[in-house]
């Protein structure tokens, strides 16, 4: 067993870190307050091919393996969770599924623009009545000749307001007592499509989270991903992959909490010495460091299993669950270590604390992860 990263992975880390520190760090706080994505960062992220991280180069992507994608995501997440979600979500749950499950024509048609970031992607599953319960999707797709007509709405879509290509989960009727779900690739220039309200959020405020409205949106049948009725199966597979990248973002955020806490603990003097010299503070830092490292190992393991073609769903779920909760704890203690200053906009940990909460909800809540892991354990050891 080898825990060494390859030289290539090290270069991915170094390059992404330097880029994020130079371009994103100086504007992260302002972007959060103004709920806006900095255009210069966007241009550079596109140029560096982050949006096509794990898409092969023949389709315009960077051709990284999943571990490389994870490391890049972690490093962006270490500086700004809004940016890690803005690029890693479309790259993992919109373009990568098209690569995995799409026809050759779909790949040629959609992947180059998604990979270069010329068109941003989004994966749209959640609806007012379908959150954790993906099966309850109500966005309907009705067949009409060689087209389908989409009616309904989606909510909480990451990049919703700025996306040009959507992967949308719809219902195409019922089979027996179950809803039949079908996934479509939707071009947002199609008539009848519009963006609804943009959410005002507690955390990841710079990231665009929007409602999407479909009124008689006509999508050609050739835009079905997989087959009609594959929607639920594909959704599960897509979320499995997405979770690895979600975990990577959160590991980065947790790492940021740790680093900022150590820095502050060394600087802040009370009772005549740096607060870092007190055991009470050191214990917090020890817990943070240990839990973040454990989260990272789970995440890298999931990525590695994926790269060698083995089942990674369960480990990915564990990684996402554990990293979310470890990072929430780390953010909580990071603010605690900063005292009153931690509640102010002058310190990054205030933003980290708000951003961390997203992790326990998005791409499967912690409760849902526990259901997945728990039921898998019960099957395995029965």
């Amino acid at each position: 067993m080898d825990f060494q990263l390859s030289d290539m992975h090290k270069m991915v880390r170094r390059t992404t870190r330097e880029f994020a520190e130079e371009y994103i760090a100086p504007v992260a706080a302002e972007s959060d307050q103004k709920s806006r994505l900095d255009p210069e960062v966007m241009e550079e992220m596109k140029r560096m091919k982050f949006f096509g991280a794990s898409i092969p180069q023949e389709y315009g992507g960077a051709g990284l393996d999943t571990l490389g994608f994870v490391i890049a995501t972690e490093e962006i997440g270490r500086i700004d969770a809004s940016w890690s979600i803005t690029f890693a979500v479309p790259a993992s749950v919109c373009s990568y599924p098209i690569y995995l499950f799409g026809t050759e024509e779909q790949k040629r048609k959609f992947l180059p623009a998604l990979s270069s970031g010329e068109k941003l992607g989004a994966f749209v599953l959640t609806e007012a009545n379908a959150g954790s319960d993906a099966q309850s999707v109500q966005l309907s797709a009705t067949k009409d000749g060689d087209e389908y007509i989409l009616n309904g709405s989606k909510i909480f879509a990451t990049n919703g307001g700025i996306a040009k290509t959507l992967l949308a989960v719809t219902t195409t009727g019922t089979v027996g007592r179950r809803k039949e779900l079908t996934m479509f690739i939707v071009d947002t220039d199609t008539p009848g499509y519009s963006v609804g309200v943009r959410e005002k959020k507690l955390g990841v405020r710079a990231s665009n989270t929007s409602e999407l409205v479909f009124q008689d949106v006509r999508v050609p049948e050739e835009n079905i991903l997989g087959k009609r009725g594959d929607g639920f199966k594909l959704t599960l597979a897509i979320l499995d992959y997405g979770r690895i990248l979600m975990a990577a973002q959160i590991v980065g955020l947790g790492q940021a909490c740790l680093e900022k806490s150590v820095k502050y603990a060394n600087e802040r003097v009370q009772f005549g010495r740096p607060i870092g010299s007190f055991q009470g503070i050191q214990y917090k830092i020890a817990d943070m460091a240990t839990e973040i490292e454990a989260s990272r190992l789970l995440t890298y393991k999931a990525a590695h299993l994926c790269d060698i073609g083995q089942d990674y769903g369960l480990i990915g779920s564990m990684a996402k669950l554990y990293a979310s909760e470890a990072t929430m704890r780390a953010a909580h203690q990071a603010v605690q270590i900063h005292g009153a200053y931690g509640l102010t906009k002058s310190y990054d940990v205030e933003r980290y604390f708000r951003d961390a909460k997203m992790a326990e909800i998005y791409e499967g809540t912690s409760e849902i992860q526990r259901m997945v892991i728990g039921s898998s354990m019960l099957r395995k050891y029965q």
Binding site: M8, M11, F50, G52, A62, G63, G68
Partner: protein
Amino acid sequence: MKIFVCVKQVPAVEKIKIDPKTNCLIRKGIPSMINPMDKNAIELAVQLKETHNAETIGLTMGPPQAEEVLRQALAMGIDEAYLLTDSKFAGADTLATSYTLSLAIKKILKQKKVEEDYLIICGNQAIDGETGQTGPELAEELGIPQITYVENFQLQGKKAIIERSFISEEVVVIETKLPLLLSVVRDLNDPKYPTMAGIVNAYHKEITHWNATDLSADKKKIGLPGSRIIVWNLFSPERKGELTLLEGTPEKISKELCDYLQKDKVL
């Protein structure tokens, strides 16, 4: 056109450590990086590659681990890379280094059947030694013109137009033609980060390794035997006293400096 870029691996630390026995830099266990100005050299080469359909070639002389800076050059868009590595090259000063680099360049030119249509780009100086000599000496070895402190470079057909400024505020514009060696400074351009695709590709490429025999090198001209500089002592200077930075035109600064020197009764 062929464009050669010479790059160097340097220690990535603010304060260097010196081995008191050998008077050499301690490199072991110290993170290393590509010399900053070499990134400007690579950036220029990559830009010219796009505008002039040139082939770009990265070179470094160094220990096997110097391969990393060549990977970085490849990631930034350089087409192929050569590592000149041999224990016999160790201890080389700038003269022995430039001799070694010149052998490799001559060999590549011969292999690629190029006579005149080439450009060599070096960083003006490396942050470890700060001599600024390797580039100029390499040009001398090859018998081609050299221009140092290059701030702007344009290639129009066979004509090269260069801007350089050195100490004085005046910018000198030079017109010349290839072959040519440039040593460039940071003001030249803003080196771009490698793309993720560039990094992946960099690790799929082969790096050619050449040793002293491959280069048919004269044993007396490489490594320590080929060096004219013998290091007696090497140390990080202690920063003492107060620092005052003078700003403005050279005329204004020199006048202020004289005032200071007179006040302190140096003059």
